[in-house]
């Protein structure tokens, strides 16, 4: 149904926006690099594709006069989600342009800010592009060429958002949210298998719990994994035995 498609597409756009913001935050710092610029470019392109797809879908749904009132309210809610995502994306793109211009990579005398982040952002970008591993193929003048592209893309996005404002008549303030305060705590966050429980950031918060085995609920997943592993080993052993028997 149209609604489900919309929701999945909006989820994807949301994910890409979040990852894009994370990547832009790393610009200009010591974790900046050629790869980061390329990741930014590809994430941006993906975001734009998703945005265009979302927009066509949602506008077609909203233009339909025959839908019921609840459906219309639901589509308006999705529209508000979409336009807020686009706002964030637009701001992040403009900021990445500014910061990219201020911190060019190939100039020998410009220094990157030593923020303490030294790792790479490949995992975030892979998450955004929904691939397992990122492959980097950019050439060395990515910063200058990329910035020109970025400027054109920014104008496209701005135009798109303005068009959206003019053509679609949705009052954002009239939308009622479905989530109540504190809803994010109940969303299925697998807080268990990460060590971001309460990590010690500075001397002020000295307690450090490796939340590795922390949240008791998801102890099922490792057990299943072990079970599957054993099954595979057994199958491999059986096949090996057969092969040895046959030869």
């Amino acid at each position: 149904m149209g609604k489900e498609e919309c929701k999945t597409m909006l989820d994807a756009l949301n994910k890409v926006t979040a990852c894009y913001r994370h990547l832009v935050i790393a610009l200009g710092s010591t974790s900046d690099s050629q790869n980061l610029r390329e990741e930014l470019k590809r994430t941006r392109k993906k975001a734009q594709e998703l945005a265009v797809a979302n927009r066509t879908k949602l506008t077609s749904l909203l233009k339909d006069k025959t839908i019921s009132k609840e459906d219309r309210a639901e589509y308006e809610r999705l529209w508000v989600l979409f336009s807020s995502s686009m706002d964030l994306l637009e701001v992040d793109m403009k900021r990445s342009l500014e910061i990219g211009q201020d911190f060019p990579l190939k100039v020998p005398t410009r220094h990157l800010i030593q923020t303490g982040m030294t790792g790479s952002t490949t995992t975030v970008a892979a998450r955004a592009m929904s691939v397992q591993n990122m492959k980097y193929e950019a050439d060395s003048n990515i910063d200058t060429a990329d910035l020109r592209d970025l400027q054109t893309e920014i104008t496209q996005v701005t135009q798109m958002v303005e068009e959206m404002e003019m053509k679609v008549q949705v009052a954002p303030w009239a939308v009622e949210a479905k989530q109540e305060a504190g809803a994010e705590l109940k969303s299925n966050m697998s807080v268990g298998n990460s060590s971001v429980g309460v990590i010690s950031m500075c001397e002020e918060e000295p307690k450090e719990e490796e939340g590795g085995g922390g949240s008791g609920g998801s102890s099922l997943a490792p057990v299943c994994a072990v079970f599957v592993f054993l099954v595979i080993i057994m199958v491999a052993a059986v096949l090996g035995y057969l092969v040895i028997n046959m030869s």
């Binding site: 949301n14 926006t17 979040a18 994370h22 935050i25 790393a26 610009l27 010591t30 809610r77 508000v80 807020s84 995502s85 964030l88 701001v91 403009k94 900021r95 910061i99 201020d102 911190f103 410009r110 220094h111 800010i113 030593q114 923020t115 303490g116 982040m117 030294t118 790792g119 995992t123 975030v124 998450r127 955004a128 404002e165 003019m166 053509k167 008549q169 949705v170 009052a171 954002p172 303030w173 009239a174 939308v175 009622e176 949210a177 305060a181 809803a183 994010e184 705590l185 969303s187 966050m189 807080v191 990460s194 060590s195 309460v198 990590i199 010690s200 950031m201 500075c202 001397e203 002020e204």
Partner: protein, 481 residues
């Protein structure tokens, strides 16, 4: 019909006081130079090691060296860098100062630097608070919880988006390595402490109203603008001027009289409510307080204008005039004020009553103004407008100022009030008490309640001062007989 939402055109709102940031950014970038910049070291936290940590004294030494200034100036400059958010402290993260010792700091990433164009939006803050809520499993700091609830009210229509975006951003960070995650959290927290400071944290992001013009662009003045500027300046030259000795003398006189009454220059007793969150000062200086403060009474003696402007002083003056049986001047002045500042629908009726009470020959409260003014006023009352009584009002004001005001200042009424006026001692709050005061801030009296009190008091006064009905008085006396 299209709905044009107030979508902020974020490129156009420039905040004026932060156009120094470009120069500060240049200095911060210079600090990064591996050879001549500030030397960083590593921070060890249990098992992780995080690089690029700098000590406060190193930063200040570098600033002093680079700018060739004293250590105090270097400290102030360092504190400015922290207050703007270019460098953030690692240990005492709420106190945005640069200490000249081994306290550790780190540089902030350029995305979180203060900029002239990009405002820290409420929507982003809401997303940050939601993320923090997830991290802390619902245990936000009290000021954060208050903000969270407020934002949930104001941004309710976007709340789904905020929750979704917060969960996604939270998941995106999880994939990175541990030191990077720690640094990322520290950075974001420092950014929001600078932009939404908790109580008693002094960040530098307090700026004035937004402008719609970029203060950095050079303005081209057109020919027409030049022409108009010329005309303006020529007219200015032809204006009559006061000698500077005279105007400066007046200024000096004003300063010497009012200098003790200015809460910026002299301590405002008992304590300035804006600073200590204790509103006793306002309570003592309310409209209908029985015993006014000494400062207030002193202020009445400065000029008739001050006396009449303070409504409590006006009441006192009325009491004095009633004793002297010369209250009609003040009553006329008040009626004229009401006409000037009141609604235009009631103007004709007010003008009628004023004429009947004060100006008609043989009126019950006839005021004594000279013939010419009286003639003008009566003629003007045929077609009443707001300022028809202006001439008469000024005349009456001058009469009061030259004669009655000085008699009032020497009268026993005033001397009595002066003697009984209270002068409260100063408060001396400790930081804990200040926190307590801040938490106990009340909303004060509702303006509608105050207005009702005013109306009641006015009605009572009107009834009391209505012209005595002679017939009723006579019949009462007859009945007594």
């Amino acid at each position: 019909m299209t709905i044009r939402t107030a979508r902020p055109n974020r490129g156009q709102h420039f905040r004026p006081r932060i156009h120094c940031v470009k120069k500060v950014e240049a200095i911060v970038v210079e600090m990064q130079d591996p050879s001549s910049g500030v030397k960083g070291s590593e921070q060890k936290l249990n098992v992780t090691t995080i690089p690029h940590v700098i000590a406060g004294k190193d930063i200040i030494a570098w600033i002093v060296n680079k700018m060739k200034t004293t250590t105090e100036e270097g400290e102030v400059f360092g504190t400015m860098l922290v207050a703007y958010g270019y460098i953030y402290p690692l240990q005492n993260h709420r106190k945005l100062v640069m200490c000249n010792d081994d306290t550790l700091y780190r540089f902030q990433t350029p995305y979180f630097w203060p900029t002239q164009k990009w405002f820290a939006e409420d929507c982003d803050y809401a997303i940050y608070l939601a993320k923090r809520n997830i991290r802390k499993k619902g245990m936000l700091e009290p000021y954060e919880q208050v903000h969270y609830n407020q934002l949930h009210d104001w941004l309710n229509h976007k709340w789904d988006f905020i929750v979704m975006q917060a969960t996604e951003q939270y998941k995106a960070v999880k994939d990175r390595k541990k030191p990077d995650r720690v640094v990322f959290d520290c950075q974001e927290r420092a950014y929001w402490i600078v932009n939404r400071p908790p109580r008693r944290t002094h960040s530098a992001m307090d700026c004035g109203p937004e402008r719609l013009l970029d203060p950095n662009t050079e303005e081209k003045i057109t020919f027409d603008q030049h022409r108009r500027m010329n005309i303006f300046f020529q007219q200015t030259i032809m204006r009559s001027r006061v000698k500077s000795s005279v105007s400066l003398g007046a200024l000096v006189k004003y300063i010497t009289t009012y200098k003790n009454h200015d809460p910026f220059l002299a301590p405002c007793l008992p304590s300035n409510p804006w600073l200590t969150d204790n509103d006793e000062y306002w309570k003592l200086n309310m409209r209908r307080v029985d015993v006014p403060t000494k400062m207030r009474v002193e202020r009445w003696s400065f000029s008739l204008f001050e006396l009449l402007r303070d409504l409590r002083g006006r009441d006192d003056f009325k009491v004095f005039l009633k004793k002297e049986f010369s209250g009609e001047n003040l009553a006329f002045w008040e009626a004229a004020e009401e006409l000037k500042l009141g609604s235009s629908s009631s103007m004709t009726s007010k003008a009628e009553t004023i004429f009947k009470t004060f100006l008609a020959p043989g009126a019950p409260r006839w005021i004594n103004i000279d013939g010419r003014t009286m003639g003008l006023t009566v003629k003007g009352l045929d077609h009443p407008h707001r300022y028809v009584l202006e001439a008469a009002q000024t005349h009456v004001f001058l009469l009061m100022k030259k004669d009655t005001f000085f008699r009032y200042l020497k009268s026993p009424v005033y001397k009595e009030i002066q003697k009984n006026a209270q002068s409260p001692g100063g408060h001396n709050f400790s930081p804990d008490q200040l926190e307590q005061n801040a938490r106990n801030r009340s909303l004060g009296i509702h303006p509608i309640v105050l207005w009702q009190q005013e109306e009641e008091a006015n009605a009572k006064a009107a009834a009391a001062s209505a012209p005595v009905d002679v017939k009723a008085m006579m019949s009462k006396i007859d009945r007594k007989k």
